[in-house]
Structures are given as structure tokens and as C-alpha cells.
Symmetry: C2
């Protein structure tokens, strides 16, 4: 992997973007032996329906913990898309949810519009697991890039979710993974 | 408030230190109109039973998001105490749990040894809410310092915990607040 890979999850409050980034950070550190730093910033720009959560992973040490030009953005609502898409790094990937993001501003990034929320609702039966579907998508992308095994992310999901909810979260993760195939 | 106040929660995995720091960050931003940045770093130093989670709050913008010399550390296990106590900032406060931290290395910081875990277990009935007791302690300290109203932290707790668990989490928070009185 290159020295530093920046991932940002963005959406509205309640879509679970913090937990998604925490899980990626733990997967990188605990199951892949990488370094990772996970951050939430709240300032004037973070108000108004835009919640973002970032994780930087690296083989080496991480000097600056924020994602300034994310290599991968997973964006789950329109306000976040409008605000953040332009920051995508060169050669970066943007995944947007096709229910809550109806219009994608022009960008040089590679954009995938995927039924993340619909999958959570209809295939898994609970919109609450939207973030786990998003993590499955993330796993497929990171695996394709040779950054992390999807299995590491799945293990990190299972280690982090409340006892008794492993099955539904795993199903959501797997459905997300399949969305990118 | 001075320009920047750094708080670190540290303990073992499962003690909920990430959620504690997330709640402080949200309380600062949403209920107090401050800026905040919340981080987890995972590296070689973070393995071995030491989980840490930090939040920096400020009236102004936050250039560097990590807590390098925390003004307040809430430490819930011995390994974290041994590793992190020396980093406490000048004039800083350290709160340790009296069940899991039996020996506190020499320090110039003001140290409080409090029954955080015991309170969660015995007064609230679930060790799982240890982090909410710790947040109650934090609320009292931040309130005394004039940094944040305890009510803001309590509202942030109630906004963040799973539906149906508000009552037990609020009780834990209040018992923690009373521990510092």
C-alpha cells in the first residue's frame, strides 16, 4: 500500500458514520497490524445535517490525522455530498447512496451510486444497519486495492457490535460487499 | 475558557472509552457551540490492553487534533495509567478508577481515585455503564472549570445512547456526577 490512505464516511446524524470509521480503524490496527487514526471534527462547517467521520490508515506513522483529500468517500446524504465531494483526492473513489443522494456535483473522482440504504431496508430489513452495508462496500474496495482483507473488516464488525446483533450486522456487511461486485 | 482543553479517556477494550469521548465532542459542538475534534489512534503503542480516546475542545479553531498533554485524563485500567499518566498537562487532573488502578505512578497532577466501576456495578447494576459514570465525573469537572454545563453533557448522552436505555445511562451519569461532589 502507499504510505497513507484516507477514508471519509459522511451522512446525517443517526446513519452511524462514526461507528463505520471506528470499525475500519480497529480492523486496520488489530487485524492487519497497520497504524490508523480515526477522527470526528465538529465545527461550524459540521452543523446542518452533515456528520462526518474519518480514518487514516498507513504502514508508517501518521503525522496528520485528518483526511484532507480522502482517497475514498462513502456519502450517505445530499448535504454531505454537496459539501465534501470536491475534496476527494486525485484518483479517488466516491460512493453515494442512491436514495438520499439524488444529484452528484461534477467531479473527476470515480463515482458509484449504490442502493446502500435500500439494501439495509429491504434485504436486511432494518435501515439501522445502513452503516454496515456501507462497510461491506468499503471492504470490497479496500480489498481490490490490496489495502486490507475483507475478512479483517468483518471480524472488526463482529468484535464491535452489541452481543446478539452479530447475525444481522454480518448479513448487512455481506450484502454491502456484494453490491460492489 | 482558555483556547484549548484536552481530555483523554483511557482503559481496556470494552470499557466504552470511544463513546465517552464522542459524547463529549458532541456536547461541546451541539449543545455549547464550541469546536471539538475527537480522535482514536491505533499504533504499536496502543496495543496491549490500552485503549484511548481523546477529545479537544476550543472556542477557536483546532489546529492539532490530538491530545498531547491532556488537561484531564480519566483512566480506567492499570496499563493505561502506567503508560499515560506522565503525559498529563501542567496543572492537569487525573481521575483513576479505584478497582482497576491500584497503583498510581508519581505525578504532579491532581489525582482523584474514584469508585467508577463499583458505582456502575453496585449503584446502577451494570458494569457496562462504566463509561457513563465516567462521563458524569467529567461533567462535574468541566462544569467546575466553567468549560461546559453538565446539562449539555447529559443531553448529549441521551441523544447518543440506544433507544430504551436512556434511563439507566442517565442514572449512571448522575451517580458519576455525585462522585466528584
Amino acid at each position: 500500500m502507499r504510505d497513507r490512505y484516507e477514508i471519509r464516511f459522511a451522512g446525517s446524524g443517526g446513519q452511524g458514520v462514526i461507528l463505520a470509521a471506528v470499525v475500519v480503524g480497529e480492523a486496520a490496527a488489530i487485524f492487519e497490524g497497520l497504524n490508523s487514526v480515526q477522527t470526528q471534527s465538529y465545527g461550524p462547517e459540521a452543523r446542518g445535517g452533515k456528520s462526518k467521520s474519518e480514518v487514516v490508515i498507513s504502514r508508517g506513522s501518521i503525522d496528520y490525522p485528518k483526511a484532507t483529500t480522502p482517497d475514498l468517500q462513502i456519502i450517505l446524504n445530499q448535504a454531505s455530498c454537496d459539501e465534501f465531494i470536491a475534496q476527494t483526492g486525485k484518483g479517488g473513489i466516491v460512493v453515494v447512496d442512491d436514495t438520499y443522494v439524488s444529484s452528484v456535483p461534477e467531479t473527476e473522482a470515480q463515482v458509484f451510486s449504490l442502493p446502500i440504504v435500500k439494501t439495509a431496508r429491504e434485504k436486511v430489513g432494518r435501515e439501522l444497519v445502513t452503516n454496515m452495508v456501507a462497510l461491506g462496500v468499503t471492504a470490497k474496495i479496500l480489498e481490490k486495492k490490496g489495502l486490507m482483507k475483507a475478512e479483517s473488516l468483518k471480524q472488526a464488525v463482529l468484535a464491535r457490535v452489541p452481543k446478539g446483533t452479530e447475525e444481522i450486522n454480518e448479513k448487512a456487511f455481506i450484502e454491502g460487499y456484494k453490491l460492489m461486485e
